[in-house]
């Protein structure tokens, strides 16, 4: 099968690759670059375990083709970890025990960071809505919401108290 040459920025580094069109972004990143944080979960856009950042926006990596990364800027949890961008979130997840098996965690961290970046006022309900596309089958979500809201307070966000539905 013919492959297509692409160039893109991966966690701050310019890289080049040749990629088969049928390969989705997650298989491509895991196999070509041995990045293990983007998970292969449902592979049809339901679970959110494959969440990565492309050109600053979170996307489902399993619903994007590797070839579509040409010219893009890609960040995975490895990149966010190296830059310390979410050190406080990681610490809060650890402290609040917001994971058990850890399979969903990379996606949870990226989506939570997206919520915190976009909202100056944060609420548990708003956060739950934002995280509604990410499945966790261990924690029951409560610990994840606690951790992210703790970080929201630490980052000086306005916390809106409202009844959860």
């Amino acid at each position: 099968m013919p492959t297509i040459p692409i160039r893109f920025k991966l966690n701050g580094q310019q890289v080049e690759a040749v990629v088969e069109p049928r390969l989705h972004v997650i298989d491509f990143l895991r196999e070509e670059y041995e990045l293990s944080s983007p998970r292969v979960g449902c592979e049809h856009g339901v679970c959110g375990a494959c969440t990565i950042r492309v050109d600053g926006q979170i996307v489902r990596g399993c619903l994007m083709l590797g070839v579509q990364l040409d010219g893009a800027e890609v960040q995975t949890l490895e990149g966010l970890n190296a830059s310390s961008e979410i050190a406080d979130l990681q610490k809060a997840f650890h402290e609040r025990n917001s994971m058990q098996c850890g399979y969903c965690t990379a996606g949870m961290l990226l989506t939570s960071q997206d919520y915190l970046q976009k909202n100056e006022s944060c609420s548990r309900t708003g956060l739950r809505e934002h995280l509604s596309g990410n499945y966790c089958r261990c924690t029951g979500y409560e610990a994840i919401i606690d951790a992210v809201m703790n970080v929201a307070s630490q980052r000086g966000k306005k916390i809106i108290q409202q009844e959860e539905v």
């Binding site: 049928r22 592979e43 856009g45 996307v59 489902r60 399993c62 083709l65 809505e129 596309g133």
Partner: protein, 285 residues
């Protein structure tokens, strides 16, 4: 859960994309945001031989205001619509609907045109286009065609698009300033497809309800507009919900083709539709 082999083309202009499609014919499909097509390919429900990616054509990514109409390019993403000042000003119903539309990571890639071309009966944009009387701009072998939403959506994942046509943009007439619009969806989880949903528009002028529009989605093989029910409600609407209204709604809903799905029976959906109309009317009181 891995797609079968396929070739990949990335045209830089609408013309190039169209020419490519004519040469591949039925062996190729256009790729919009990929939020439905890629999963279908991962599951091998769709095994096209070639994808023509429309993602690098700037002309398809624009939202413009022209002659009292919003022109939304086929490759405008859901998130672009949700954050557009033009849409907020001239077609606020789309902003209201976008709130229910999937999750941020999907909204960042999924497109307006892709959703229209797919014609999922539970999706928001086909219902919104039907209610706002949108027109679909389509590039065909014999030039540009404009199809009204009512004629475009023909059934379950079925539209008037020809197999080699390219959906270029959607024209949405500007909503009147005094018009109020309402979108309500009943779903088990934020961002899920609706068990039943409703979109409505109308204006109250000196106590009377005018220009009421009602479209249901997620209940049949396509979004459904109930013109008769709209007229009957307007004729008896007195600013309060009463038994007469309840009767009209019930008898009208009894006549429409509602279809259950794996999770929700036809009977439950029929019940939810009545609940939705009631909630909509409460917003006009």
């Amino acid at each position: 859960m891995k797609a079968a082999e396929f070739a990949y083309e990335v045209p830089k202009s609408i013309q190039d994309a169209f020419v490519l499609k004519q040469s591949y014919g039925e062996h190729a499909q256009f790729l919009a945001g990929g939020q439905s097509l890629i999963p279908a390919m991962n599951m091998r429900l769709n095994m096209t031989e070639c994808l023509i990616d429309l993602g690098r054509i700037p002309a398809l990514k624009e939202i413009q205001l022209q002659d009292r109409q919003l022109q939304i390019g086929a490759m405008v993403t859901h998130e672009q619509i949700a954050n557009s000042a033009l849409v907020k000003e001239y077609a606020p119903l789309l902003i209201q609907a976008s709130r229910y539309l999937a999750h941020t990571a999907i909204r960042n890639r999924g497109t307006f045109g892709g959703s229209i071309a797919l014609a999922d009966p539970a999706a928001e944009w086909p219902a919104a286009c039907l209610l706002l009387e949108a027109q679909i701009n389509i590039l065909t072998q014999s030039g540009f065609q404009r199809v009204v939403a009512k004629d475009f959506f023909q059934g379950l994942y079925t539209t008037s698009l020809g197999s080699n046509d390219l959906l270029e943009s959607i024209l949405i007439p500007v909503q009147a300033k005094e018009e109020k619009s309402v979108v309500i969806e009943l779903a088990r989880r934020q961002g899920d497809y609706a068990l039943a949903g409703i979109m409505a528009r109308g204006s109250i002028v000196s106590g009377k309800l005018h220009n009421l529009g009602l479209v249901f989605f997620g209940i049949s093989d396509r979004p459904i507009r109930l013109v008769n029910l709209e007229a009957q409600i307007m004729s008896v609407f007195s600013g309060e919900f009463n038994e007469a209204l309840q009767k009209i709604i019930q008898s009208s809903l009894d006549q429409i083709d509602i279809r259950g799905d794996l999770y929700t029976t036809e009977k439950a959906k029929r019940h939810l539709c009545a609940v939705l109309v009631k909630r909509v009317l409460a917003q006009f009181i």
